[in-house]
Symmetry: D2
């Protein structure tokens, strides 16, 4: 059998949990190692950490880099920002393929890390290494197929890029300027003990944070430059909602573009055969609930040329297409499996 | 005692319920009559409709216009759009003062009703009647004090106007153009049997509706014209969230205005003494939860001149400052009581 | 290929939606027909009803009994109570196998229907037909394997029976008397326009209903009689919670039984090999969240012999193990496939 | 004026916040001092901690026992269990009246503290001090009126006692044995950084905890002994729900008592004039939402003599009647004000 062995570092976070869910249902892989952080006290059966995954029969262990390297053909790193960059060099040397779900390899310019991620990058050379691909699957299949290290995009970045790139490529964004009002479920903030994230604080609430200072901004602008050669200018307001999963980015573009022109731009970029997870609809904005638990990105738009206004909303599940699902999609590309393998459940 | 008698028509909706809550705690009034719709079958003790208001000792009855006129000095109409316009003429003739919480008297131009409210107006002359005032309290105290009929603003309109008017007056909104991404709790949609509003549909969801077609748009633009003489151009995206109460309008203005300039514009418009319910803070956007259950409107802003971007968020409770609370505030003005009477609980 | 064709009548309800989700991921079946109710106006592409299932490429149609019979080998009926009983005879005559998810075939005694379901049964003879099996999978595999018609148990009934049967069989329930305090997610009430089910009514709420009058009571007692020969006496308080999916039944038994005795009773009844979906843990009660989206039933118990008290909680997803998942589990048994086929995603 | 000065220690918790809300609306008191814990870093204006209470014009300060004693006539202690017992002696010596909302003075027998509260009591003599009253208002008005120190009951204890005491007094509880299945909002767990209390963990969840080990058990049994001379035997299962505020205790009693007998027992115990906050209804169980934000306790019951079953549910807001509201009610009694003063908003 051609089954590949896969491991997860960071198995106790929400992204790690979603990875386990997806990989357990994936017909081509076998999960062989689950690591929490290096501080994890002792192995705990997965049946205790996640009763629903009891049949996996593994334990969650403290992260041991050499065991990680030995355990699998492909390794998913779902660790806090700033952790993966020290692990990756040895994994690459050991011949492993790696998909990193943190921000550690998303920015080419190491000089940007102190400002946006609050740490200095330990491996600046790796950021421009030819073995590295940026895992926005719909735009980089060829590089991902050959990559040894894939940097999985941020959840906001994925939703914004899938919505704005076709418009920029079609020249429908005057001055390349747009606004993003983004709303995310709370799993995006991770499973961490923080009173701001308590049920009692977030039920019946909505909270904006890091206005124009979120670390996905340089990631989006870098990718716009890479793919269109343009300098996008983005206002970005991320907000958390009282929902667990799901994210919608609402984009505002000042333009007289008609619905037809916008529809054609998206039709050139996406179609069901080649980009099976991106669904575009004219005339209305997508709800969040229908994409939750799927790897879909649902894009809808309302063009009001008389108002010089185009509104686009891009909805996805932050844990699936925004993290673990896109990671599995990238794995499928890396191994030459159909892109949807294990992702239609 | 100078206690005034007040009545509520539309007592079984969320706005009516909030009116009862506020009026029960108001030291200057006595609630004397509670009407549902004309189709209400038979009187039902308020203790059954709203156990928490049992001490009121009234029944909720079918709406009877002559009983309504006879019951009180001031009448709150919290009825579906299109219902109040037929009741008001007789109430005015009977010498009553009226605060209407529907959209029936919000637009001066009767010709706008078919498009935005889907009905033709039955009393077009009343829309320009000098006895009528628009009840955005902070901007019309003098007219409200003298008015016999007050048209209480829409919830979105209130939040948008309190945020944008000072900026327009200060000339900080180039081309008078702005974008509003608004998020509302579901009580704004009323207590109606609609599968779209089920818990099972709205939990873990967010839904945009009436993009650039919401009836609060002409109301906002009319008020901008009235107060600034300008023709605002607004993109407006209303959305419902899985919260019961509360609303935040996030405004986007393309401007190089600095935080200082914006702060001064708001300082000229609002101060704790004269406008006790409007609170402005620089540098961050307000959360929804702190305003729920209050008559406050919390405004916060982030100015990013280098991005030519100003973000303002305006948060209020759609049932309080966005409806029943502002109605009580207007009543206070109409009777010369301190504006905060009964609204600080 | 041995792929079986399956159809769903009642595809627009929550149970129907969950059936589609599960059947799409099932390797042995192909969905060939989706019917709503007979009143459905015209075919609507499933991509509009459920965007996430767009790849199914079918339409949802008005229920047409002859098309239903012709469309598939096995038919899932997920219709309101009182609808299936008229459809089933023709489906059986046509040689189809049927799994009914309503209450129409759960009670052997037709005389009970007027009291508990408010209708008279149209097919009383069928209730005792040897082709009919009660689909509590863990207890009736042999009958289900041979059945042409399977009556899928109620969600509450499933959770209560899986918890109480082993205790009754072990003689640990004095006087066969027990209490059930049950809490269910709102999807159990269906997708129906009812103000009691609005987000605004159920957020921050809990509501008991049909205390000691719920239609799952005679179903539970009948099954207890059938399997143990005993007359159970149950107090039953069903409640809805502000959650979408998931259900927990908390059982109270007055007994001095020790944790060991209780654990042994469950160990005799269930083990991972033979009953892969039932998980029992001593010393704590299960949470709801871990079972949501799974076909698991998690049972936990706390025995306090000094208090003469045994508390057992039984948690499952009302749409999965409590409805669509158990239906698929039963289909697996009917066709001789491993019981977990398509249910481990 | 006879206005009393009041202070709050523990102003940053949910109970402290609710105390501020209620005391701000109370016509007879003035809040003069707000303390957090002793570790609070520096004074922070209440407008930053709680924007809605900005008009209070105070700062929240680190707890300073001598300032606390000097600041007010009556002091509310809303501190974590184990903190108040060291503060109270000096406050009493200074002649202050104190209402303690923790468990520190709820149990007469100091020997019970290590088992139920995990600490040894520092002031065992005070537990039997004649200046101390147990603040279940409806049952101890006379002692509370004279008390210098009132121990405010636990939220679960309040709901259970108000429901069970009339039945015990009427001899309707055979063997004095009953079961309580209690469901609480998450504010009951406090504002603490704990991953178990995250929105992402508790949305769509229900969790039982401390089954038959909760510290309100000895409190309930002690009060039963005190008022009825009986030894109650209680099974107690507390659970948290995805709601912020509100609590319902569902009691199960094996009895053949009729609805009439039960109704009479409650009628003897409660009536609107003497116990204005306790509302009893026969034939149905109360929902949680109507009591949220009120000081009401809504009791409903269903008697099924044929089943030998009586179900009683007792709903209240854990922060109001279950904590801050009952504390204010007790203050009203202590100062001879009408019991409802400031509690009908």
């Amino acid at each position: 059998m051609s089954t590949r062995r896969v491991a997860i570092a960071g198995a106790t976070g929400y992204t790690g949990e979603e990875l386990i869910r997806l990989l357990l249902a994936h017909p081509e892989v076998q999960v062989t190692y689950l690591a929490a952080s290096a501080k994890w006290e002792r192995p705990v059966p997965v049946s205790e950490v996640y009763p629903r995954f009891a049949r996996l029969g593994l334990a969650v262990e403290a992260l041991d880099p050499s065991r990680l390297a030995a355990s699998a053909d492909l390794i998913f790193l779902a660790l806090p920002h700033g952790t993966a960059m020290s692990l990756v060099p040895d994994l690459l040397k050991a011949g492993r393929r790696v998909i990193d779900l943190s921000g550690d390899f998303r920015l080419e310019d190491a000089a940007l890390y102190p400002q946006w991620y609050t740490f200095s990058h330990a491996q600046p050379a790796l950021l421009k290494d030819p073995r590295l691909a940026y895992g926005l699957t719909e735009y980089h299949q060829d590089q991902i197929a050959k990559a040894q290290l894939v940097s999985n995009p941020g959840c906001y970045a994925t939703s914004v890029l899938l919505a704005i790139l076709p418009l920029l490529q079609a020249g429908l964004v005057p001055e390349d300027r747009f606004i993003v009002d983004a709303k995310s479920g709370l799993s995006g903030a991770g499973r961490k003990a923080d009173t701001d994230l308590l049920f009692t604080e977030m039920a019946e609430n909505l909270r904006a944070y890091r206005v124009n200072e979120h670390q996905h901004m340089p990631e989006v602008l870098q990718e716009i430059r890479r793919l269109t050669g343009r300098s996008g200018r983005m206002t970005f307001v991320p907000q958390v909602l009282p929902i667990t999963r799901g994210l919608v980015s609402t984009l505002y573009v000042r333009t007289t573009a008609t619905a037809d022109a916008v529809g054609q731009a998206y039709a050139r970029a996406y179609d069901r055969g080649r980009t099976p997870f991106v669904h575009v609809r004219a005339g209305s904005l997508p709800e969040v609930r229908p994409v939750v638990g799927t790897n879909d990105c649902a894009i809808g738009f309302v063009a009001s040329p008389a108002l010089e206004s185009l509104v686009v909303a891009s909805a996805l599940d932050n844990l699936t297409k925004g993290a673990a699902g896109q990671a599995v999609q990238n794995m499928n590309v890396m191994y030459g499996w159909p892109e949807t393998t294990g992702l239609l459940g």
